[in-house]
Structure formats: C-alpha cells, structure tokens
C-alpha cells in the first residue's frame, strides 16, 4: 500500500510526507517574494541596478563636486585660463578656440573643457541630474496617463474605449521624435499654462506624453481580459461601483505589468529627452543635460571629440543599466520566461 502511494507521489512530483495529511503544510510564499528571490539570484541584473544607483548618487552629488572639489560652477566658462596637463601648462581654449582634452586631474578640468571653456566633468554631473530628473518625471506622467486611459478603455469599453483608442492611435501614428519636436516647439514659443520653455518640466511633459500609447495599449488589452474573470464578475454582483472595481480589483492585478514597464519607459524617456534636446526642442540653454552636451560637442568634431564621447558614454551606460536591470525584473516577475529558457 505504502509503495503504491510512494509511486503515485513520484509521478506527481510530490513527496510522500506531504500527502500524509497529519503533516502540516509549510506556509505559502507570495508571488512578489518569489519574484524577489529570482531577482536576487540574477547577479548581472543586480550589478547593473547598482551601476544605475551609483550614477544617480554621483549626479546628486553634483553641487558638492562643483563647489568643494572642482571649485567651478557648471555655467562658468574660463576661455582665457590655463590648466596643467601632466606637468605642462596648456590654455583651456587654444589660439583657434579648440578646448583642452581631459587632464585626468580630479580637481581641475578632469574630463577637459567644452568649447566655451567650461568644466566638462562638472557639467556632466549637473547635466545628468537634469536628464535623470526629466526621465523620472516623464515616466511618472506616461505611467499615470497610460494606466488611467488603458483601464478606462478596457473596463468601460463601448464609446469610452472608442474615443480613447482613437486618440491613442493618432498619437501612435506620429513618429515619436516628430511629435516630440512639434509639441516641444509649441511649448517653447507659447508656453503651456505655467510651463515655459526654460523649465525642465515642459520637456518632461512632452517626453512623457509621447510614450502614453506604447503603455496604454498593452494595459487596455490586459484589462479587457481581466474584466471577464470570475472575481470581477463577483465584485459586480456585490454591487461595487465601476470606479471601485477599477481601483481595487483591476489595478492590483496590473501591478506586475506596470513594474515591468517602468524601467522600459524610463530608459526610452532619457533617450528621447536627449534626442529632442539634440534637435533643439528639449532642454534650453543655459540648462545642461547630456543631450545639450552631445549636441554642443558635435559642432566641435573632429577637434575635441571628448565633448561628445564623455556625455555619450554616460548616457549609454545609464540607459544600458536601466535596460539590463529592467530585463532581470521582467524575468523575475514572469516565471514563464525562466521555464522557456530551461526547456530548450
């Protein structure tokens, strides 16, 4: 008898002890705890997450580096000054206006000067702060609008869905960069209520708006599937209002989708900010961002390529670290991804 039970247990992969109902079952582990366990095992994703945190901390320390170590403000150009490079004294800008390259002296023009004689390292940190800030605010705007639009369209269906989906389609049909420069230019000229071209918030608003359909469409599709499930039916039978069902029944079930989208949108928002700024419709001078630095630097090709290389590498490193971490996060939240790789 016992051997038969053991065999049955072997087939189902359950050990004999658990089938014995006198033994108490261990408490269950929630999906988020499981996801966290999987994420913790993914060393590469964690390492890149750490790199991202490091970049954020460095950029937040910009004022300290600027005031106490480099002793130069990000907007201060010193075109007639000199620096020491490896014991030799060199002009910050030489006779034909070409800026000096990296001095590798941590306290003075560490990464060289730009075409106006400003300290690239100091501007890099300040610019990074602006780029990250815009990226973050834009992501919040995208996610908030997309969650509201996607949930309303998916749950209410009918005419609401029709209107929201058509609006999303219109935004979608524009190339992201083209829509960005159209909106950016409009705000630059006219302002939009309290937003003026000189505030970073207007750029964040434009970048955030452009990505709404990319997130709202998948959320709508998921809500369409969710609303047919039994627990939503039960909530409706209990007489809960649609608003309550959407916020307390549907929204929690969207959590993992939302978490997966956040790094994706953040990475794209930072890239798009740089692109808009490169085209002159994003961050306006004197504010620095990685986009303005690259765009200024391209005009000094081929004489002073460090002006493009330094902010460019920071930009790629930041976006790459967000992407790799986000990928790990998705694998952790979507267990099927693990099985998929295992089965091959």
């Amino acid at each position: 008898m016992a051997s038969l039970r053991d065999e049955a247990a072997f087939d189902t992969g359950i050990t004999a002890e658990i089938l014995d109902d006198t033994v108490e079952l261990p408490p269950g582990v929630g999906p988020y705890r499981l996801a966290w366990r999987r994420l913790r095992r993914n060393r590469v994703a964690l390492a890149f997450g750490l790199i991202f945190l490091l970049i954020v901390v460095l950029c937040l320390l910009a004022p300290i580096y600027s005031q106490d170590i480099a002793h130069i403000s990000p907007d201060y150009g010193n075109p007639t000054g000199t620096v020491k490079v490896g014991g030799k004294t060199e002009d910050i800008l030489n006779a034909v206006g070409i800026p000096v390259g990296p001095t590798w002296n941590f306290t003075h023009y560490f990464l060289g000067a730009d075409e106006e004689g400003r300290d690239v390292a100091v501007r890099l940190l300040y610019g990074g702060r602006n780029s990250l800030e815009i990226g973050l605010v834009a992501t919040l705007i995208t996610m908030a609008l997309a969650i509201i639009a996607g949930t309303l369209a998916g749950y209410l269906r009918g005419i609401t869905d029709g209107i929201i989906s058509r609006v999303l389609d219109i935004i979608w049909a524009y190339p992201a960069v083209l829509l960005g420069i159209v909106l950016g230019t409009v705000i630059e000229i006219r302002g939009l209520g309290p937003f003026h071209s000189t505030t970073l918030l207007s750029t964040a608003l434009v970048v955030g708006f452009v990505y709404v359909p990319y997130v709202a469409k998948p959320i709508r599709a998921q809500v369409l599937a969710l609303r047919e499930r039994e627990f939503i039916d039960a909530a409706r039978q209990l007489g809960l209002s649609p608003l309550r069902i959407m916020t307390f029944e549907i929204l929690p079930n969207l959590a993992s989708t939302i978490i997966v989208f956040i790094p994706l949108v953040l990475a794209n928002a930072i890239l798009n900010e740089a692109a808009l700024t490169f085209l002159g419709a994003g961050v306006q001078p004197p504010n620095a961002s990685w986009g303005t630095m690259i765009s200024d630097g391209i005009s000094t090709i081929p004489e002073a390529f460090h002006n493009v290389l330094v902010p460019g590498i920071m930009l790629v490193l930041t976006v790459l670290s967000i992407n790799v971490f986000g990928d790990g996060l998705r694998d952790a939240l979507d267990p099927r991804a693990r099985i998929r790789i295992g089965k091959e």
Binding site: R166, D169, I170, A173, Y174, P175, V177, L178, I181, V182, L183, T185, V186, I189, R190, A267, L271, A274, A275, F278, L279, G280, A281, I294, S295, G297, I298, I301, P302, F305, V308, L309, G312, L315, V316, V319, L320, N323, V324, D327, A337, R340, I341, G342, K343, E344
Partner: protein, 315 residues
C-alpha cells in the same frame, strides 16, 4: 477581402483627417497671435502690408475655413511654404529619393539581420552565443542614434577615412550612392535590430513548445525544415507588424536624427526645418505623408499576417 479593404479605407480617411486637424490646431495655437502673416511680411512691414498678406493668404478667415483651404492646397499640390516660398510638394519630392534610399536600405538590413540574430539566439538559448548576442542587442537598444552617428563620423570618417563624412549622392552613381549610405543604414538599423531580435528570440522560444512543431518533428521533417517552415513562419508575425509601422514612420520622415547627423536632406530633415521655422504647410504635408504611410503599411501588414498565420482571418 473587399469588405476588409473598404473598412480599412474608411479608418484611413478618418485617421488622416484627425491627424491633420490636430497638427493644424497645434500650430495655429503656437504661432504668435495665431497669424503667420506677420512672419511672412518680415520685420519692417507696415500694419497695412501685414493686413494685405493676411487677406491674400486668408488668415483673416475663421479657423475652419483656413483649415479646409490649407488642406485643399496640400492635395492639389498648390501649397507654398510660408518660410521659403517654394512649392511644398516639389520640396518633398526633392527629399524623397534620399529618404527612400535610407529607409528601404536600412529596412531590409534591420529586418534580415534581426531574423538571423534572433533565430541564432533562440536556438542557442542559454549558451555562450545567446549571451553575447543578448549583450549586443542590449547595447543596440541603449544607443542614441546621434551618438552612434557621431562615433562613426569621427572614428570611421575623420580618423580612418573609411566612410564619407556626410551628404547624399543620387542613385545615378550607384557606387557613390552605396558608399555614402553605408554608415546611415548601419546607424538607423542598430536600434531596430536590438528590439526585433529580442522579440523574435522570445517568440521562437514560445513557438518551439507548440503542438504543431511536435507534429512536424514527429512526421520526420529535418531540423532545418521544422525551423524554417513551421517555427520561423509563425514567429515572424509580431516582427512583420512592427516592421510595417517602423518602416512607414521612417519613410514619412521619422529618421530625423539619422538624417540630421549625416546631413542627408531628406523628408525628415525637411520636417525638422519646418518645425523650426513654424512652416505649418510644409509640416502638415509631411505629417500627412507619414500618417498615410503608417495607415497604408498597416493594412498591408494585416494582409501579410493572414498569409503567415492561416488562423488569422481578414474582416
């Protein structure tokens, strides 16, 4: 099929109308005083001259009359740029060969490369090849177009003199045409290869476990036949739809960054210029072109869908 086409056409017209209206309103709102006449007349113009221009172009009419007049001129090809005074249609026509060369070449490159990369990564899933390809596509996705362009121009253009630094040469000189487009093609393709190959990799890994794949193996098809005829054909559906949309946007002036980094004076560059100069008519025409391409290629993609996956019916 006929019903599908009619429905598609109706959606297309509606979309084009909405998109043109939104763009038009955005620029009416943005222009100082909502009237481009002041800009057309120049800084030294007297109010009387501004008024004359206003009447001539119809800027004194209600907005909806202006809108329909503008659209009428765009469609019969008699609209003139507020900025340069040139015929908008001929300006777009002048930019089209550049943009088409860039878009179609890059489109073919990124489509084929991502199929190869994605398939390779999927059949080697979890192994060394897969990891290297994943890292490369991650970097590709994280690379800003203008930074990649700047790197290529500096290292391959200035330093190694391997590629020309910028500009476009017409197709009448095929060798030079190719020569000048290699770097822009590569620059434009990298991002898409990164995205597509990762999507294809995961779709293939999903498809591998499907019943019809097991059936194909069971009836004794070779590994290659299973891969090409059954797995790949089914996994291509999401890639093809993305490709249609992305290609449409690039043809309609979406490659603004690539075109401006390499000074290719195509449709994207024209769009960029017209935004900077508040040239509503030119921008409207380009946006219409983009939207037209997006909707048209969207319909073509749906037909392709039905061909790739017989379970999908056109309706």
């Amino acid at each position: 099929m006929a019903r599908f086409l009619v429905r598609r056409l109706a959606v297309m017209v509606g979309m084009l109308f909405a998109i043109s209206l939104v763009t038009f309103l955005l620029f009416i709102v943005a222009l100082p005083g909502g009237n481009p006449a002041g800009m057309l007349a120049g800084r030294l113009a007297t109010p009387a001259e501004v008024h004359l221009i206003s009447v001539h172009y119809g800027f004194d009419k209600p907005i909806w009359v202006q809108y329909f007049r503008t659209m009428e001129h765009i469609f019969d090809g008699t609209s003139y740029s507020y900025q340069s005074g040139f015929n908008v249609l001929s300006e777009i026509e002048a930019g089209l060969p550049t943009t088409l060369s860039l878009a179609l070449g890059a489109g073919v490159i990124w489509f084929l490369t991502s199929i190869v990369v994605g398939t390779l990564a999927a059949i080697k899933a979890g192994r060394y090849t897969d990891r290297v390809l994943t890292v490369l596509s991650m970097i590709g996705v994280s690379m800003p177009v203008f930074f990649l362009g700047a790197i290529l121009i500096y290292y391959a253009g200035y330093k190694a003199s391997l590629i020309p630094i910028s500009g476009y040469v017409p197709l009448s000189n095929p060798a030079d045409w190719l020569w000048h487009l290699i770097a822009p093609w590569f620059t434009l393709s990298v991002l898409f290869i990164g995205i597509y190959s990762r999507i294809l990799r995961s779709t293939i890994l999903d498809t591998i476990n499907e019943d019809f794949v097991r059936t194909a193996r069971a009836k004794g098809l070779s590994q290659r036949q299973v891969l090409l005829r059954h797995i790949l054909r089914n996994s291509l559906v999401p890639i093809v739809s993305l490709w249609g949309l992305d290609l449409a946007q690039v043809i309609g002036g979406g490659a603004i960054l690539t075109e401006s980094v390499y000074s290719l004076h195509g449709v994207g560059y024209l769009a960029y210029q017209s935004v900077q100069h508040f040239d509503t008519v030119t921008l409207l025409s380009i946006v219409m072109l983009t939207a037209f391409c997006v909707v048209l290629l969207g319909a073509i993609v749906e037909v392709l869908y039905a061909f790739l996956d017989p379970r999908i019916r056109l309706q």
